[in-house]
């Protein structure tokens, strides 16, 4: 099990799959293995938040996780494995930056979320339609430019008007917790590691207050 965990931290997807095969053949429960990998990826996310891991290491770990989850998929389905929640993510209208958003999506997938990624420069109409269709547990919005911060505010307002129960997280270089509060977003996350943590908190809050 330690070797599995270390393969995620090291970003070695092939090794993760090898260890998973071994552990499954030894009778380990797939959910237990998934939880172990999630735990390792969270560790990398925390190191990333603290500035002890960088984009290449974070990407590598998240990709190794993807490979591992890909291998575990069928075992989880047969054992009734389930995503912990649905997260919809988008870069706001007018903004085409996606590296930060993609990193958040990767890490959230690695943390057990089903992620619906709407892409970049997502229009308000597309966002609202997709939200209505998908009914995610959490919506994450990203912006890199100061010129698209007003679009983030508009997106939060429109979603909240149509879906007052919506839980919205925001992030991106110029975004601050003050700005998040000012535009009515529920949470701010400064990086991908923090985003995973915050999404789990929001999910827990939601499950303890279903209405």
């Amino acid at each position: 099990m330690d070797q599995l965990k270390s393969s995620i931290v090291q970003g070695d997807g092939a090794e993760a799959v090898k260890q998973l095969k071994l552990l499954l053949s030894e009778g380990y429960d797939a959910q237990v293995l998934l939880d172990a990998m999630i735990d390792s990826l969270r560790g990398v996310g925390e190191a990333f938040s603290k500035g002890e891991a960088y984009i290449p290491e974070m990407l590598k770990a998240a990709h190794a996780m993807q490979q591992g989850v890909g291998h575990l998929g069928p075992f989880l389905v047969t054992q009734g494995g389930k995503k912990i929640g649905k997260f919809m993510i988008a870069t706001v209208a007018g903004d085409m930056h996606d590296v930060g958003k993609n990193l958040v999506a990767l890490v959230l997938r690695g943390n057990g979320f089903e992620v619906v990624d709407l892409g970049v420069d997502v229009s308000f109409n597309k966002l609202i339609d997709a939200y209505g269709q998908e009914q995610p547990d959490i919506l994450g919005l990203s912006a890199l430019l100061t010129t698209t911060m007003p679009a983030m505010e508009k997106a939060v307002n429109e979603i909240k008007r149509a879906h007052p129960e919506a839980q919205i997280m925001v992030g991106g270089a110029p975004i601050t917790s003050e700005f998040a509060a000012q535009i009515g977003a529920d949470r701010y996350a400064p990086d991908a590691g923090a985003a995973a943590k915050t999404a789990l908190q929001l999910l827990n809050k939601k499950s303890s207050n279903p209405n």
Binding site: G11, P56, L59, H63, G94, T147
Partner: protein, 383 residues
Amino acid sequence: MNSKERVIAALNHEEPDRVPLDLGGWVTTISVIAYNNILKQLGKDREVGFFDWLRQNADPEEEILQILGVDTRYVHVGKPRSWKFAPEERENGSWVLDEWGCGFIKTPSTLYYNLIDSPLKEATLADLDDYPWPDPRDPGYLDGLAERAKKLDEENQYAVIGNFAWETWYERAWKLRGMEKFYLDMAMNREFIHALLDKTLNLHLEYLDHVLSACGEYLDVIIQGGDFGGQKTTLMSPEDYQEFIKPRQEKTVELIRRKTKAKIFWHSCGAISTLIPHFIDVGIDIVNPVQVRAAGMEAKRLKRDFGHNICFWGGIDSQQVLPTGKCADVESEVRHVIREMAPGGGLVICAVHNIQADVPPENVLCLYDSVKRWGNYPLSKDL
């Protein structure tokens, strides 16, 4: 003391008569929207078009540079013969294939062109040799170049800046590969990243040799760069910086030193305070844009730790103060940067990166007026 002397003194870590001002370079200019707003604010009955198609930036006119009190003048390369800006209107926006084969799009909701297609995203090492690389010695680059530089040099009024980033070998490399793939490869396919950076670096050095042979002798400063920082940390680890980037910065500096006496300006956005000692080590003279809102980039700290060995160029916050502040906030930011960074020279002021479309014209005028008001040496005790 004229503008040229002012800039040179500051870059020699001496106190000139006032803190020099810049506007007009690759990463120190202004969006065409913001520029036209200034023209309107100043009562000028005209609008200009873009100069830099990618970022939709303006090339500020001489009249406006004089009104603002800008101490620098730029020399830009001419248009390449082998490539033309030819936007193609498609369903989702205007597409441009640049001279490197990268695809860019400007959708109806975006203010400039963004990378949409990276031609080397699936490439292997072997593909690099067959790729149709652009000609770094395109004769078009020299059109008007030496004449403009020589004229500015003879006039001896303003600091002459060579705007020769050519989008830089580092930016080119990730644009060709795609940013996410590039950084993943930095962890998993290191040999490829080395080979790709070697390609873009060697082309860049050829380009520099080409343009500096024409005008190197007239320059006071040359613009180079590559973004290595995010909001909180560097994008890559210190070890990766030292393996992938520093030796290539050394080669860049080495070539420039052979061709010109100009001071070397390096642009890198973000939280790069941990890299500045390396910049100093390789011989970079000036760091830009001094992104003061990024972690570890506080003006006071940078000046204290590195101010004796490197100059700062930029410094006026564009992530909050310029777009959302009032004139009083801009003035207060200018005073702060002057107080912390101007003592002993070593400071040229402009916005942190190009002034974006959302910056009110009053704030731009206020930035330049405030430096003229508060930037005079000896520095005021009331700063």
